[in-house]
Amino acid sequence: MTAVVTATGISLEAAGRTILAPTDLALAAGELTVVIGPNGAGKSTLLRVLAAEVAPASGTVVYGETPVAAMPPWRLAAKRAVLPQSAQLAFPFTVAEVVRLGLDGAGNAAERMDMMRRALAAADVAHLAGRNYQTLSGGEQQRVQFARVLGQLMVGGRREKHLALFLDEPVASLDLRHQLGLLEHARRLAGEGVAVLAILHDLNLAAAYGDRLVVMKAGAVFADGSPETVLTDALLRDVFDVRLSVGAVPATPFVLPRPSAGGAA
């Protein structure tokens, strides 16, 4: 597998406290990596360093062959897109205008229009296109941001062979249908060769959609592997400090997300 993003020995400190211990991590093309861990474990910090938003105190992040420190912002923008946890807008832009922000450099107007339509439809926000972003609910706003990010990936795909997508708690404010819809789409992108990294809190979603789980605790990677190898009773106890049993069916009714049959299709 081709490594799209390779981090070597990255670490970060703030006010004398280690918030990311030296870490090696590579994101491969076609792989959906899910990062899990308790609050303050350094998940978002790891994402920011990998997305080249924050420079590590030590170590390097390389996209393909190129260190991110040597790339101007516009080149990075063609190689990776980032979905923030939530984004407040300073002015009353319409949904179409927000998505348009990701579509600069999209060739001609017809191509841009085509990308806009596809991005809006994929995030299920086409019917909101003319609405003022500020008046939408948190979940709707999140889906609009997802459409913007998808548009940016489409534009990047015209220039770059390997793309990376970073999702910081992408489903936190979404209803169940859109949680599954967004993660399905993320996995479809991985199927098309994008290296996807998502931070999730729901372990069931993480297990259902992740090809690989990276478990973080206290600023360090605690475990890294397939959901089957990583998710164990002992790990949940050690990392999350809760007593849960993996795979056991409780007596009370419960709901589990069911990824569509056929894996990455």
Partner: protein
């Protein structure tokens, strides 16, 4: 799903076409408005000239063949009215664009060079140059005319930069801190300007009053020619910031993700605001509220897209300031009101309305 998307796509196409038409109509209206208001302004004063006469005189002057019976009118138009109107257009455009830039930079629709103390900072340095400059002359010899605008520019730059540093923590700009820091900086600059009034003689005192209230009176071709090389390049440069400011509305990290060199964008925006406000204050003193009223009206009319907002602000700002200047000249004839009083009388109630209307949506 695909037919839904196609239908929604058609709706988006139609909405975009409507919007393009609205933008076109807006710019046509603004262009016509600037021409009409300019002609009216040139015709207004002790020697009243009908618009048709103004056009005839301007045409005669441009072709270089001024008939005998037009000589007196031509003298008034070219010597007094035209430089004043052009200065009004330049200063109005500079102030409105500075307001739009600051609002984009601080990600807040209430930022304004007047409210945020930038104009006061520029005026302080200009006042310092008026009062202390003559003592400097004894040491250095005659100072060039450009020293005064340069001092105002320095004051504007220092204030904008200080404000930005105070109000921004970890990439987030606090509105409350911004406005309060602006009030504090403005008060400090006002107090220091007050100290300078003690040191000034009568003529300097008149000049200082002029700075603090704002006026286009005393506009000359020399003044217009001094600020034009500062303001016109700013107006030309501003469209290149539009895309970055649009992205910045999402937040600094998000703008960076979209490929914007955020730090450079902020530095350039601060520099442009300082140049535009410094140049404006140097020739016309403190004129408030243009920078907040104009972009806000335009956002209501056409939305917040900076690619449209910035050039439209330049046109509407110039137009409104020339209009305010006409009021300033005619309301208490034969005397003249300082224009800052006119813009404050119109702008302050507007600002209060803005606060009340947006109290819930703005995080104040």
């Amino acid at each position: 799903m695909s037919t839904d998307a196609a239908m929604a796509g058609d709706a988006i196409d139609a909405a975009l076409a409507r919007r393009r038409l609205r933008v076109l109509v807006l710019f046509l209206l603004l262009g016509a408005g600037v021409v009409i208001v300019s002609v009216l302004s040139i015709g207004t004063g002790a020697l009243a000239l009908a618009p048709s006469r103004v056009v005839a005189v301007l045409r005669a002057v441009l072709t270089g063949a001024v008939p005998e019976e037009m000589a007196r009118d031509a003298l008034v138009v070219v010597g007094i009215r035209l430089p004043r109107t052009l200065l009004g257009l330049l200063v109005g455009a500079a102030l409105a664009v500075s307001g739009a830039l600051m609002q984009g930079l601080f990600r807040n629709p209430l930022a304004d060079p007047g409210l945020a103390g930038v104009s006061s900072g520029a005026a302080l340095f200009a006042a310092g140059m008026i009062v202390l400059g003559e003592r400097l002359v004894a040491v250095t010899g005659p100072l060039p005319f450009v020293t005064l605008p340069m001092a105002a520019f320095g004051g504007a730059l220092l204030t904008t930069f200080t404000l930005y540093r105070i109000a921004t923590r970890a990439g987030r700009t606090s509105v409350a801190t911004l406005l309060l820091a602006g009030v504090a900086l403005g008060a400090l600059a006002g107090a220091l300007t007050g100290v300078l009034t003690f040191l000034s003689d009568d003529r300097q005192l008149r000049d200082l009053t002029f700075w603090s209230l704002g006026s286009l009176g005393g506009a000359t071709w020399a003044k217009t020619a001094t600020v034009a090389p500062a303001i016109l390049p700013v107006l030309a440069a501003v469209p290149f910031l539009a895309r970055g400011l649009n992205a910045l509305a999402l937040g600094e990290a998000e703008a960076f993700h979209l490929g914007i060199a955020v730090e450079r964008l902020k530095q350039v925006a601060i520099l442009l605001v300082a140049i535009a406000v410094g140049a404006s204050v140097a020739v016309s003193g403190i004129i408030g509220f243009v920078g907040i009223v104009v972009p806000h009206l335009l956002r209501l009319a056409i939305g917040p897209d900076h690619r449209v907002l910035l050039p439209a602000s330049a046109l509407l700002g110039g137009m409104l300031l020339v209009l305010s200047d006409m009021l300033a000249r005619t309301l208490v004839q034969p005397a003249e009101l300082p224009i800052g009083i006119v813009t404050a009388a119109i702008g302050a109630p507007f600002f209060l309305w803005l606060l009340l209307a947006g109290r819930r949506s703005l995080a104040l």
